[in-house]
Amino acid sequence: MKIKSLLALALAGTTALATPALAEGTIKIAVIEPLSGPLAANGGDILERFQFLFGRVNDAGGVLGGQMFEVIGLDNGWDVEKTAQQMQRAADEGVDYVINGIGPQHATAITNFIRKHNRRNEGAEMAFLAHSAGDNAITTENCDYYQAVFDPTVEMKLNALISGMQELGIEGPVFTINPDFSFGQTVDASFKELAGKAGIEIVGSEMIAPFGQVQDFTPLVARIKASGAKVVMTGNFGPDLIRLLNASVDSGLDVRFAALYGPDPSTMAAVGADKFEAAGVIAPFEYDENDTGGLPVLEELNVTYREVAKTSWGIDRYRMLVDGIVGAIEAAGDAEPKAAMGSIGGVKLTTAGGEGYVRVEDNQMVIPYFIIGVDKAAPATVLYKGDDIGFGWKTEKIIPAETMALAPTCKIEKP
């Protein structure tokens, strides 16, 4: 009993310390991500990027002729329960916009909270801006006036990958390997459906226990070999992708990898340029650092973020999210979510591959997408927290926005 109350006290102490104080009269943005625990590095990186991006907007004079953004990070410790708690805190603090993206279950908790909150608190609505689509149905089934997604859905990405593979002559037969949880299952099912329509043959598939549980991938390598596959499509990430690539290249397996998470710097560093090249990794991605499409803002970010964070800009959809909400606020002439979210659909976005937009029907971002391939001689090599990974990417193909925009399956009702 004593220990329990002590623990409770200690916990209360840390939360009290962690409560951020927000200034009056600013547009309040809460980034709810894991800032502690196994995914802290990813969550911290995301928070840093949003602070940097909104800082740029503020430096340029804010929005609506001088209103400033204020960004706070709220730690959900990779625990859905804590995400709900942090949402309550965000609501108490008067947060206007919540940003999240790691883990679909967290996005679901946020959508549920916001719906309830907005019903009960007219005039103090909150909105949800998702920076990663994951496998959740924010725009495909559960679209809502108060939420927008700034990442192509899994279907859109896979559709891009498949049309890219066909244009590049990387047509299979394909073996799919995906992590056995909701995300991997969605990837696997969608890929098979889309590949079937495109006439790509699938000769084998496997769902593996995710997050480093599989120590040895050589049995799968043997299966891939026996299946006669020429392409391996995988949604594996982290240790699962590192081990898969290592085992397959070490065994001299003659296949190309279409790896959704290939461009992750940690994986790139662990596996190395030679093996990445030997595995012929391609990936669908929002932009390639060596191909800014002549966009001045990207050329600037490529340089400045390297100086500021010792990390290459690499990921660009966070900028699109910030441009999206800034555009919506300017168009509505009002920073309150109730007004601004009415204008977010239709906002035009500039991207390295050409013009993109937020779709009116479901607040889903639609942008041209890149199919990128390993480039050992790339001028801009990937830099992550001061470590130069030593190689980079090149554009293999740009998939136009028209191809990306699969027909919307959900329609927002205005409140």
Binding site: P38, A40, A41, D180, E206, M207, I208, A209, F211, G212, Q213, V214, Q215, D216, T218, P219, L220, V221, A222, R223, K225, A226, G238, P239, I242, R243, N246, D250, S251, G252, L253, P265, S266, T267, A269, A270, G272, Y384, K385, D387, I389
Partner: protein, 315 residues
């Protein structure tokens, strides 16, 4: 069928890696009666230190320096933490070693960050040794296989053929008597602990660049080690070897030769609809079942033979 040798070789390799970890764990238990939850953390430390030394002085330096350093660290670990605990007090043992494992996990994150570090196979070891069924068997994997078997032979020789081995096995069953005969049991325990930790560290140095070096690598492998030690029999080196190899091969075989329940379900009840119970049943296959198999095995062994296959005493 032609991939069978490839599968066997890789299964053996994985089994031997597990053995290198389980050997120390089971020997330490046999000698000291301590269940060391932090054992796999030394494997992880071995991998991180192996990476660090390889950056400074190359892979081969790591092969030698890391086990020595970790062996010394093991002695300190035992002197400071373990030797203060009573053998009977298993709750304290669990708490102390579990706590140490968490401290080590957080420690490596503070030093090396939370992402995988770029630890590569040494240049001179890249490439294939031979080709089986159209697939290469890399030199490096063969090297690990050789080292691990050599290590097993050395441990076995020491235990069975030398005076040290004699004292060790005497100390396992009659520690009071060994002490009475004038042997410093505390120092013997130091040596065993150091050796066990050093071997785990060496496994880390060699496996790190194969499996990836990242902060949860210890967490992921600890449960498997306990399966091996429990099924093989606490304190039994032979048991650890046989069970480790069996697990490696079973896991490999279940993944390579995927048997699915789908044809059976379809034959009995017709093609199942998505989302029904039958569809879930049809999804059952040996590959996705493979990670659970070791634990099932442990449950069965605990139920019918609690001392493990080669154990001397019941749990």
């Amino acid at each position: 069928m032609e991939i069978l040798p490839f599968v066997l070789l890789n299964g053996t390799l994985f089994g031997m890696l597990l053995f290198m970890l389980a050997a120390g764990l089971t020997l330490i238990y046999g000698m000291m009666g301590v269940i060391n939850f932090a054992h796999a953390s030394f494997y992880m430390l071995g991998a991180y230190l192996g990476y660090q030394v390889s950056v400074w002085a190359g892979f081969w330096a790591g092969m030698i320096v890391v086990p020595v350093v970790l062996g010394l660290a093991g002695v300190v670990f035992r002197r400071v933490l373990i030797s203060r605990l009573a053998i009977e007090d298993q709750v304290s043992q669990l708490l102390v070693t579990f706590g140490a494992a968490m401290v080590i996990t957080e420690g490596v994150q503070i030093i090396w960050g939370r992402l995988a570090v770029p630890y590569r196979i040494p240049e001179e070891m890249t490439g294939a040794l031979f080709n089986v069924g159209g697939l290469d068997f890399p030199i490096y994997r063969f090297f690990i296989l050789v080292v691990s078997f050599l290590l097993f032979a050395v441990i076995l020789l020491i235990l069975k053929q030398t005076r040290i081995g004699l004292i060790l096995s005497a100390a396992q069953s009659r520690p009071q008597m060994v002490r009475a005969m004038g042997y410093d049991l505390d120092r013997v325990n130091d040596w065993v602990f150091a050796a066990g930790v050093a071997v785990a560290g060496l496994a880390g140095v060699m496996a790190g660049n194969l499996l990836g070096v990242y902060p949860v690598m210890a967490e992921r492998i600890t449960p498997l080690l306990f399966v091996i030690v429990v099924v093989g029999g606490l304190g039994s080196l032979n048991g650890a070897l046989i069970v480790a190899l069996a697990l490696g091969l079973i896991d490999t075989a279940a993944t390579t030769y995927k048997l699915s329940a789908e044809p059976l379900v379809t034959a009995l009840f017709g093609a199942p609809e998505r989302g029904t119970f039958l569809a879930d049943l049809a999804r059952f296959n040996t590959t996705s079942f493979a990670p659970i198999l070791p634990y099932l095995l442990m449950l069965i062994v605990l139920l019918i033979r609690p001392r493990g296959l080669f154990g001397q005493r019941d749990l």
